[in-house]
């Protein structure tokens, strides 16, 4: 495997071209929705190579611009149902708020680009679902959903960690029970805000909590990361590689019209191929193992504590929460899987305006 990191958007096409020109390369994976146009262009120029985009919509570009070629046989977009995962953690945070009698939950976002809208609305929708669930199942602790219940901030950055800290600090100051990190490294800033409170009050575990995103971030501060909304990019690349090795890639492109959706209960050719979930203890073990490997390779400390201790702390934190909370989240997941509820997928300006009016 050869890796090329794009420093700027203008690198996309040349980077993909460089990889495609290499005669030994069979599969080229472009990671990130911004590569869509570049993938659509380069895949056409190299029909013998296979291209995969993570989070991309290159096939829809082909459909729009070159309808005769759609779907391009050597191109597969892999997309994830982040809105569903966000709904699950939104519900989790809300149930925690109910349990601990806290007035708010929070979300710290990066730059306000439309791809984050599905996280935002998914999270808020899950929160509202949870308040309704409470009325049916735990009426003594139930409260009505308010449009100011979810505190949310677009920090305007994906890299400036202190901004994540400042945003989260304000939320915890209002006594938010948990803050969802939708800004990558800014999670470290959120963690710092939590850490300060934990230190001041001598806490061993939350509340307050925060919620990880993309990877399993539960290990970063065991006891204070209630869970992570996991989006398994690794699985997407794994599936794609497997399809190419098994010689099924182009058939599957034809079957799926070139777009593979990985989410909750998603299937390809009858096989379950999921990519979105709320982290579990088992996931944590997998990530701890990755951390150990990384420590071996780099010789640097990656994990904040010995693996057994991390695991024990996370386990204790999870067990300290009432069982009905986890059950309710599982119920929502089941309903999403069955299709008895539909999490809104917000991609456009009119949609976000409409949903913000409804959910705050």
């Amino acid at each position: 495997m050869v890796e090329l990191i794009s420093k700027v958007e203008a690198d996309y096409v040349p980077n993909l071209t460089t990889a495609a020109r290499d005669p030994d390369v069979q599969l080229i994976v472009g990671v990130g929705f911004l590569l869509s146009d570049a993938l659509a262009q380069v895949a056409q120029r190299f029909p013998n190579k296979n291209f995969v985009g993570i989070d991309t919509f290159a096939q829809s570009i082909i459909k729009e611009k070159f309808p005769a070629k759609y779907p391009l046989p050597n191109l597969m977009d892999i997309v994830y149902e982040e809105h569903k995962g966000s709904a699950l953690v939104g519900a989790l945070a809300t149930l925690l708020a109910a349990h601990y009698n806290k007035p708010y939950i929070g979300g710290v976002f990066g730059i306000e680009i439309p791809v984050l809208w599905k996280f935002e609305i998914g999270y808020k929708w899950g929160a509202r679902w949870a308040t309704e669930w409470m009325f049916k199942n735990k009426p003594d602790k139930a409260f009505k959903y308010r449009t100011d219940f979810v505190l949310w901030t677009y920090t305007g950055t994906f890299s400036d960690i202190p901004k994540g800290y400042a945003a989260a600090k304000a939320m915890y100051a209002k006594d938010a029970v948990a803050v969802y990190n939708i800004a990558g490294p800014l999670g470290l800033g959120i963690n710092q805000a939590v850490q300060e409170i934990a230190k001041a009050r001598g806490l061993k575990m939350g509340p307050p909590f925060w919620i990880g995103v993309d990877a399993n971030q539960d290990w970063i501060n065991p006891g204070f990361v209630i869970a992570s909304m996991m989006k398994r990019v690794d699985k997407g690349v794994y599936y794609a590689t497997k399809f190419v090795k098994d010689g099924k890639f182009r058939d599957l492109v034809k079957q799926t019209k070139g777009t593979l959706v990985l989410g909750i209960g998603t299937k390809v050719a009858g096989e379950l191929t999921e990519g979105i979930s709320v982290s579990t203890l088992a996931d944590l073990d997998e990530f701890i193992k990755m951390g150990q490997t990384a420590e071996k390779l780099t010789g640097k400390k990656v994990l904040p504590a010995p693996p057994a201790e991390i695991r024990a702390k996370v386990k204790a934190m999870r067990e300290a929460q009432p069982q009905w909370i986890w059950a309710a989240v599982a119920e929502l997941e089941k309903k999403i899987r069955e299709g008895t509820v539909t999490v809104p997928l917000v991609l456009t300006k009119p949609d976000i305006e409409k949903w913000r009016k409804e959910l705050g």
């Binding site: 990191i5 420093k7 700027v8 203008a10 690198d11 996309y12 460089t18 146009d37 120029r45």
Partner: protein, 347 residues
């Protein structure tokens, strides 16, 4: 106009420092266990190996020669205009608006979209210029602040007013009538390169061939002598910011209507971000000369495009590729910064 070549000596100096920079880069790579020879071979082949690569190198150079011009004209006028970044964002916005939301006949559309970007860039440059003229605000502070404001303003405009309703990640694309023709399918270079070079050449002729250019350079070279010569200092400030803004605006325009495949502005501004700051290094290497900037931009384009093959073939980590770029830039910048400091001390 008589030939007035100032280039040769600075050119030789620049070539020597390029050599020093590459040598230092080789030592660095050697220290990390890479083969410098293999790496530089890959760098060269990557940048110039095929005609398509040469064109791609030039495509990377296109916006850089313009943002370098912004900085150069500022320095020539004695101003530290580091606002190319923000002026370029606004240029991209101005171009996107005309290219994507206005219908015009072919030909006119390209010209109008280009002009709109340049005017937006110049208009944004007027903020620090007027702050300097009216309130004496130092341009370094005001341009840095204007860059940040431009970033958030442009992101906001890109999403809320120029957003593509069918695409969450970017603005409406430029209509086909507003796009510069792609020169070859194998590279992302378009005819906008000719506009960029023509603009740099025009500014060169303006600075050295007109009274206003003479006065602008005099104002930067020796403000007291400029006063003695009856030059209006405020006029010099405004003029240099306007030219710089036009150049940065054109740089922004070039990435919207002159660079496939997106033909639009990403909502993250990702396809224009950092080009303005990169221009400062290019300007230093080009000795703050509009034509030197073109040559320096080619060099930077070669590093940017050739670097990927270095990374790919020689396995040099991308961080090290970037460090190498940095070393060469710093080495190249040293004589110019040194000269600027010396000039300041003498005064």
């Amino acid at each position: 106009m008589k030939a007035r070549w100032h280039l040769p000596r600075p050119l030789i100096e620049s070539l020597v420092t390029i050599f020093i920079g590459l040598t230092a880069g080789a030592l660095l790579m050697g220290a990390f266990g890479y083969s410098p020879l293999r790496a530089y071979q890959a760098l060269f082949i990557g940048a110039f190996g095929t005609p398509a690569d040469v064109l791609e190198t030039i495509a990377f150079a296109t916006p850089l020669m313009l943002t370098a011009l912004t900085f150069s004209v500022g320095i020539r006028a004695g101003l530290f205009n580091i606002g190319a970044e923000g002026q370029m964002y606004l240029g991209a916005i101005g171009t996107t608006f005309v290219a994507g939301m206005v219908s015009l006949p072919p030909g006119i559309h390209i010209a109008a979209a280009t002009a709109s970007g340049m005017l937006f860039g110049a208009a944004w440059a007027m903020i620090p210029a007027l702050l300097k003229v009216w309130r004496g605000v130092h341009e370094v502070i005001s341009t840095i602040m204007a860059n940040w404001i431009a970033f958030h303003l442009s992101t906001y405009l890109a999403i809320n007013f120029l957003g593509d309703p069918t695409r969450a990640d970017r603005t409406v694309p430029a209509l086909p009538t507003a796009r510069y023709p792609v020169l070859t399918e194998d590279a992302t270079l378009t005819a906008v390169i000719f506009v960029a070079i023509a603009f740099c050449a025009a500014i060169y002729l303006y600075l050295w061939g007109t009274r206003a250019g003479y006065e602008l350079r005099l104002g930067g070279e020796n403000p007291d002598a400029a006063r003695y010569a009856g030059v209006n200092a405020n006029r010099v400030i405004l003029l240099s910011f306007v030219i710089g803004g036009l150049a940065a605006g054109l740089a922004g325009a070039s990435q919207i209507i002159g660079r496939p495949p997106a033909w639009s502005l990403y909502a993250t501004l990702g396809n224009v971000a950092t080009l303005g700051f990169d221009g400062i290094g290019v300007a230093l290497v080009g000795r703050n000369h509009p034509l030197g900037g073109i040559l320096a931009a080619f060099l930077f384009g070669a590093l940017a495009h050739g670097g990927r093959l270095m990374e790919y073939q020689a396995g040099v980590l991308s961080e090290l590729v970037r460090a190498l770029n940095g070393i060469i830039v710093v080495t190249l910048a040293v004589p110019e910064v040194w000269a600027m400091l010396r000039r300041r001390r003498i005064r």
